[in-house]
Symmetry: C2
Subunit: 76 residues, 2 copies
C-alpha cells in the first residue's frame, strides 16, 4: 500500500488533529499536505473525495473526514 495523505488547512483544529494523527501513524506512512499554503493540491484533494478538512485519505482510496470534538482538557 502507498502512503496515506493527511489534508489540512492550518486552522487550529487541523493542526491539533495533525499532531494527534502524527503521534500515532509512523511518519513514513503518511504525507501531510497544507491546502492553505499549497493550493495547487486542492484539486487533487477534491478528486480524492475530500469534502472538508482535516481529512485522511487512505492508500485504498477511502476518505476519513475528521471532526475534532471538544478536548477533555478544555472542559475541565
Amino acid at each position: 500500500m502507498g502512503k496515506a495523505i493527511f489534508y489540512h488547512a492550518g486552522c487550529p483544529v487541523c493542526v491539533s488533529a495533525e499532531q494527534d494523527i502524527l503521534h500515532l501513524i509512523p511518519g513514513n506512512q503518511v504525507e501531510v499536505i497544507h491546502l492553505g499554503t499549497d493550493k495547487s493540491k486542492i484539486t487533487d484533494a477534491a478528486n480524492a473525495g475530500v469534502k472538508s478538512v482535516p481529512a485522511l485519505v487512505m492508500p485504498n482510496g477511502n476518505v476519513l473526514h475528521i471532526n475534532f470534538g471538544a478536548s477533555i482538557a478544555d472542559l475541565q
Copy 2:
C-alpha cells in the same frame, strides 16, 4: 503517552474505518472497543467526549470523530 482508543459499533462504515485506521496505527498503540457488543463501555466513551462512532480518542484526551466519505472505488 498511553494508547489511543478506537470506538465503533460494528456498522459497515465503522468496520471499514477500523481496518483503515489499523493499517496505519501500530497495533500496540490503539485499543479497539466495539460498543455494540461491549455496552458497558458506552459510558466511558461518552465521558471521554465521544459523540458519534467511529471515533478515535487520543492519549491526550482529544477526540477525533470520523466521518467516512464515499470510497473512490464506489464512484467508479
